[in-house]
Amino acid sequence: MYCPRCGTKNEDNAVQCPGCGQQLMAQAPPQGVRPDIPNYLVQSILVTLLCCLPCGIVAIVYAAQVNGKITAGDIPGAIDSSQKAKTWSWVAFGLGLAAIVIQVILTLVGAGFASATQQ
């Protein structure tokens, strides 16, 4: 189908237009067609195991909600949870990265300080 707002060509079972964000599917799709709403479960597990656990865990909870709502036919709810899962995955990734960068800087500063006091 083509997006009614911006004209981008989309999958027939697309729920949201990737071009402009227009919602394409108001209610549950026809029987047997599962709407294509990402739940970011893979990313959530990855950020959880690569160490920023609280936010990664939140993303996994939203990933579960996405699939639960898809099964229940609650498409707007699933899109909402999908967005939250995405946000929390990125927050987890960003915080994990920031913590490591800060720590490397502190270590370097500490090493520089130690060598300066030894001289």
Binding site: L41, I45, C51, A63, N67
Partner: protein
């Protein structure tokens, strides 16, 4: 096959993954200091569910599956799922090639959630059988 989208992004990601793989193969995170220690462990002294995952990847790259399982079996077990998921998403994003994306029922995701949380708690309990879960 149509020309792939966003070639520089794709090349960047492939180089990043290969670079990380080479570094992880050459340097053992448990003896080398080029990998920063986990900030969470440094601050709290606790093991999170991801603790030992870099060391486990290093052992896996050297074919030591048992050593990897000993360091972080959650990481090793989730690797096929995570690897396939990333592959499916990557093929879709860059090449428009559609291999099925695994749809897990919500109940199963809740079980995975429970397992990860339980794993994170259990490996911090210093009682005999549970100590094997610590990295």
């Amino acid at each position: 096959m149509q020309a792939f989208k966003k070639p520089f992004f794709l090349i960047g990601i492939v180089m990043l993954i290969m670079g990380a793989g080479v570094l992880l193969f050459m340097y053992n995170p448990s003896v080398s200091s080029i990998f920063p220690p986990c900030p969470f462990h440094k601050l709290t002294g606790l093991y999170c569910p991801g603790c030992g995952s870099l060391r486990a990847l290093h052992q896996l790259l050297h074919g030591n599956v048992l050593a990897a399982l000993d360091l972080n079996f959650m990481m090793v077990l989730s690797l096929p799922f995570v690897g396939y998921g990333l592959l499916a998403q990557g093929l879709r994003y860059f090449f428009d090639i559609k291999i099925p994306i695994v749809f897990l029922p919500a109940g199963l995701i809740w079980i995975i959630f429970g397992l990860i949380v339980a794993y994170g708690i259990a490996r911090n309990i210093p009682v005999s059988p549970l100590t094997y879960l610590a990295p």
